[in-house]
Symmetry: C3
Subunit: 274 residues, 3 copies
Amino acid sequence: MPEPDLAELTAASLERIRSRTPLIHNITNYVVMNDTANVLLAAGASPVMAHAPQEVREMVSFAGALVLNIGTLEDAWIESMLIAGREANARGVPIVLDPVGVGATRLRTETTERLLSELKIAVVRGNAGELASIAGLGGEVRGVDSVRADSPEESARAVSRRTGGAAVASGVVDYVSAGNRGARIQNGHALMGRITGSGCMATAMVGAFLAVEEDPFLAASEAMIAFGVAGEIAAARSEGPGTFRSNLLDAVASLDSAALGRLARYDVFARQPA
Amino acid sequence: MPEPDLAELTAASLERIRSRTPLIHNITNYVVMNDTANVLLAAGASPVMAHAPQEVREMVSFAGALVLNIGTLEDAWIESMLIAGREANARGVPIVLDPVGVGATRLRTETTERLLSELKIAVVRGNAGELASIAGLGGEVRGVDSVRADSPEESARAVSRRTGGAAVASGVVDYVSAGNRGARIQNGHALMGRITGSGCMATAMVGAFLAVEEDPFLAASEAMIAFGVAGEIAAARSEGPGTFRSNLLDAVASLDSAALGRLARYDVFARQPA
Amino acid sequence: MPEPDLAELTAASLERIRSRTPLIHNITNYVVMNDTANVLLAAGASPVMAHAPQEVREMVSFAGALVLNIGTLEDAWIESMLIAGREANARGVPIVLDPVGVGATRLRTETTERLLSELKIAVVRGNAGELASIAGLGGEVRGVDSVRADSPEESARAVSRRTGGAAVASGVVDYVSAGNRGARIQNGHALMGRITGSGCMATAMVGAFLAVEEDPFLAASEAMIAFGVAGEIAAARSEGPGTFRSNLLDAVASLDSAALGRLARYDVFARQPA
């Protein structure tokens, strides 16, 4: 099997997002709701935030993907995530989970466990510490930041084995894993770590790509490439994190196949079964 | 009756907002709280967000207008909207309602019905699909976006007949209706649809104008002109949706009668009673 | 005792924030969560927002400071503030309180009283009306804005006497008081009042400085200087409140001892005991 041209696939998926404007249903944290809605709009998708238990089943039934993000939890929100998630599973709407801060508190760890046990998750995206924590590989998470994670690639692989879907451990290098396949993506910029919600925005981007790309491994890889390349373009125009936030949305909105072809940096490989 | 000079009236109302800094009480959705607070500050008003049932009566008693927005509903918030709304009605504080996503889920439809039944609403502002949904004219709303609405002008008229106040169906053209009067406003820019909360910000602007202009038809028309003209000014300086968001606040803050006179594009007409 | 060189101390504390990246636990309002997270990241700290009663004790146990902000209250959040605050007190984690809108509604006044009675607060930071309201000096707060406060310096002193910590009454001049010591800081720019959350961001900055500076008087003074100087630098590059928001984060991120030395404007004095 030849190595897929991820830059080309990313551009093609982005075109489909722009022409189909898939509805992306987000049950996410308060801090990043605005940013994730804006990045989804910039990418060409149609975001909706809805968390009331009475309406999430209806809302997700129209959606191209469901984004679950545990950044600011409350009991009622966890119930809504489960209601929406079950409906999504029943209807074949793919789910991406962002386990923000898993490992930092029992509530976050138990909620992540529950969501992974009760729902079929197409993609889990977190930082290396979060993925290591889920994988039981001794990651350390302080607040919502990864402070120690020795084996991000192995963590992503372990999480993907558990869910049967894809997993992304992001960082300076993003490791994407699904079954025997793996990708290492080297796009992105240090300024992404200096604004809040860049990880959550990446997760929302995975949601948009899942709505137009059936293969979770490709959807996750393409989203990380698209967002990383946009980050590089934006950083080149920015004076600091504030102007970077604005430029990042501009860069996502104007991202095209030429820029992707020029800037995408990745390796894809079929790994031997462990 | 000569046609009112809406550009001039808009400039005069804006001056009153800036000199009086009316308190605008918002019970709104999580996604746009920050954006609506910022656009109100840019316009010269004084925004406050408060939703606890114990305090909304007190808070609205000092307000020049009450903004109700159902973008991210919960039961407790609906109760607070009703408590605040009744107090506003009792005190003559005008209310503007943004029925975000009405028609998309039963919760949103029923909540909108309840607010319209129990409260006197000075202005309803939504997209064409939302207004058509309230009017029973077969609008289609997917998530929070209008996907089909054949008769925005008729929808606005029907909603205004129902409430006895004004109604705005916004889109490429904004249709404002109140009793026999109507306005078509052609300001605005496509980038406004590429950022989250531009509709909600327009609604907040209506709140600010309602605080200084007693006639809901004029307040709604002026707010849509002011926000639309600011959008055009901002778009001319922007590279994409991210820089547009920043420039939009700058443009609202520096909007003056010269720019309004030059850029406002509208028709006002007295319609025959149906 | 020679007058401390606050500009130099500010630069030194900022260096410690950047090298230690202290976790700052925020239980804050919906409007400003994103802005406060971003200003903390820009300063070099690591923000986390967590409010579930089940997790706040755990979360605060890793924190360098706890930020409590009552901008959008609900009963459950008040309980979480108390749980987190008691744990912070037990562990010696300093607390900064932003009593947003105290005096405007009974809920805000009673909640502020309760937090001040049950918790040891290292720094209270509010506008002059809020501080006067706590001090019982007849401040007037409408919504979240100070509309009348005749004696900000006296208010800060009275609040500091009550808490035994430091208090900041901010405005065109920021008055910092703690015991016999006082500071008047003249940094800042009018545009800071034209964006939402600038006060809340200042409070978050106090949290970051408290994490690396044991003396609450110095931490509060340094944070107000740092944020005020950043505001001046940002304003010089901005066209209005929208571009100012972006430039403010850039300015915080690039703030250095040279700029602080050049721009810091303050008086420090040891006051006679009253």
